[in-house]
């Protein structure tokens, strides 16, 4: 037995840290405003309090409108993670439906559905989102929908592959022999087996959606102020860069930590659920 370095890398330390980060993020997102020391949208109006570097009173500093950055980051967690969660839900629903239908049939329908998926995957996701954003300013809800609409294709591929694999299994064939209808087959026998894979894909999808939302907000096309999101806090700080480094650093760390945590957990989970699959 050759103990590969890859296996040892993914040792006990990494997932525990990752799960911890996720727990913190979830907690912060849920508690939101209750945790923030100051009102995230309140500006004291005192000119002297603008753009202050981190201090005891304001651990993450203040922004151009004298708002406490720490509070904004905390509340931003709710927005960023909330939008992410909603979009992943939409992506899961759409992707599962699409993939399940495609995987259940061997006819031209399968080919057609999957070509559409290929087509959507050829268009860079960011550009698709930008096209959707061109319709007008988006509320967090609309943003979530837009993100979901662009995130479902990879999910549908995963679902289709699994549905096809499970269709051949003995217990499905047995159910068919007993006269189970196609829908019943799908819902009661096949989909439960696909669940773990969907969960893994959803986790990894989450990891890819958060940076997209943040990126869009950073460009000014996502969540608009005064609502705080990790992306638009960074946007406020980008103009003066080093002079307002705290507005760049802390949201960035929050994003990186959350994304890395989701990735780590998702990858570990994937290794457990699907050991054969090397890379995706």
């Amino acid at each position: 037995m050759i103990a590969t370095p890859a296996a040892t890398l993914r040792g006990t330390g990494v997932p525990r840290v990752a799960t911890g980060v996720l727990a913190v993020a979830l907690f912060v997102a849920l508690c939101g405003g209750l945790l923030s020391p100051h009102d995230p949208n309140a500006f004291s109006g005192i000119v002297g309090m603008q753009n202050m570097p981190p201090s005891w009173a304001h651990p993450f500093g203040t922004d151009g409108l004298s708002r406490d950055v720490l509070s904004r980051v905390i509340v931003g967690a709710r927005i960023s993670l909330g939008v992410g969660a909603l979009s992943v839900c939409i992506a899961v629903l759409l992707g599962t439906a699409w993939g399940a239908v495609a995987g259940s049939t061997d006819s031209w329908l399968d080919d057609l559905l999957m070509r559409v998926v290929d087509a959507m995957l050829v268009i860079p996701r960011v550009l698709l989102l930008l096209v959707l954003a061109s319709a007008g300013p988006m509320s967090p809800w609309k943003l979530a929908v837009a993100l979901g609409l662009t995130a479902w294709p990879p999910m549908s591929r995963v679902v289709r592959a699994q549905v096809r694999a499970i269709r051949q299994r003995d217990w499905v064939l047995a159910a068919r022999a007993l006269g189970a209808s196609r829908t019943r087959l799908l819902v009661r026998h096949i989909l439960p087996g696909v669940m773990p894979h969907i969960a893994v894909a959803a986790t990894l999808s989450f990891a890819s959606v958060i940076p997209l939302e943040a990126g869009l907000s950073f460009l000014g096309l996502g969540v608009r102020p005064p609502t705080a999101s990790w992306g638009n806090i960074m946007r406020d700080g980008a103009d003066r860069m080093l002079d307002t480094w705290w507005m760049l650093l802390f949201p960035a760390l929050a994003i990186i930590a959350t994304v890395a945590a989701f990735n780590a957990v998702g990858e570990r989970w994937r290794a457990a659920v699907d050991p054969q699959q090397v890379v995706r």
Binding site: R115, V122, P124, L128, L130, A133, A135, V278
Partner: protein, 331 residues
């Protein structure tokens, strides 16, 4: 190989056709957008323009609009840019070379670097020296951190460090404004190169981290296979084992994967262009969206998709060259 190429070309064409349709569908879903490749005069008053457009969109049935849309896209008639008053095709023709230059350089450096780094990392095992193993592990962790970092954050960090703080490179743009035109041809090229370095390195860093991760996984898998032992038993020097035997077999899947990564890379390039103010398609796209210039935005999406599809085709060809079994049919 020829048949393989032909098959892939046909597949790409079909997929692109569908992609254009998807864009059309998405736009129809979004409220209030003009999208016909009409020959509106640039001097038409905005109010009149709006009226005409609304008439256009409402009067024709959906299917006719779709046919018109796809037809003009195929012909290369991408309409008139609302914000720039010039045909979209013309605007894009000016900026696409810049994007190709940036993305091409970034991809080239990133893929080569990523493959080399990943192969080296993947070849570290209990036989290698302790220091090299430690360095490899550290580089792996750094790579994972970069992968977890959104592209625009990497770009901002690079810009902040190397341009704003240490002043090694310009803050942005492709040329030094005002000065560029008065320079001789060689100096002009040098100026562009100087501006190109940082954004290209940023892209290379992002791409390289991702490629390295796949390469080292694949490398480790290949090194565990029996034929590696045979090569060593033949007396093949370790360096040749790593390159001719291991890497040669580990390369194919990675190249295919690079092709699959292209769409997200182009997406990341959008951010890099925006932050470095590089006058390419990505930046144009952002400006078009901010300025509600739909024809330009759509045109940019279509052209980007074509580039991505072409890139994917190239990747498949390269993979088939590396592993002949792919060209002759499914592995």
């Amino acid at each position: 190989m020829f048949r393989f190429l032909l098959g892939r070309l046909a597949q790409s064409a079909l997929v692109l056709g569908l992609a254009v349709s998807v864009v059309f569908a998405l736009l129809r879903a979004a409220p209030g957008d003009p999208l016909s490749g009409s020959t509106l005069d640039a001097t038409t008053a905005p109010a009149t323009r709006e009226l005409l457009r609304r008439q256009y969109a409402l009067n024709r049935p959906l299917l006719e609009q779709y046919a018109h849309f796809v037809g003009s896209a195929l012909r290369g008639e991408l309409g008139m840019s609302l914000s720039r008053g010039r045909p979209v095709a013309q605007v894009l023709r000016d900026v696409v070379p810049n994007t190709v230059l940036l993305m091409g350089t970034g991809l080239f450096l990133g893929i080569l670097g990523g493959i080399a780094l990943g192969a080296w990392q993947g070849s570290r095992d209990t036989r290698s020296s302790a220091t090299s193993a430690r360095v490899a592990r550290m580089s792996e962790r750094i790579g994972l951190a970069i992968i977890a970092t959104p592209e625009y954050i990497v770009a901002t960090a690079m810009l902040t460090l190397f341009a704003a703080t240490w002043r090694l490179f310009p803050i942005g743009g492709m040329v030094s404004l005002g000065v560029h035109d008065s320079l001789g041809p060689v100096a002009r090229a040098g100026d562009v190169l100087w501006h190109l370095t940082l954004p290209a390195l940023t892209l290379a860093l992002i791409v390289g981290a991702g490629v390295a991760r796949y390469q080292r996984t694949e490398m480790r898998l290949v090194l565990a296979r029996p034929f590696i032992r045979t090569a060593r038993a033949k007396g093949v020097p370790e360096a040749r084992v790593l390159v001719h035997h291991a890497l040669r077999n580990a390369l194919g899947p990675v190249i295919t994967l690079c092709g699959l990564l292209l769409p997200s890379l182009v997406g990341g390039a959008v951010f890099v262009e925006a932050i470095f103010a590089w006058p390419g398609m990505g930046r144009t796209m952002v400006e078009a969206v901010t300025g509600r210039d739909y024809p330009l935005a759509i045109g940019a999406v279509i052209v980007s998709s074509v580039l991505v599809a072409l890139g994917g085709l190239l990747a498949d060809v390269a993979a088939a060259v590396a592993d002949p079994r792919l060209a002759r049919g499914r592995r």
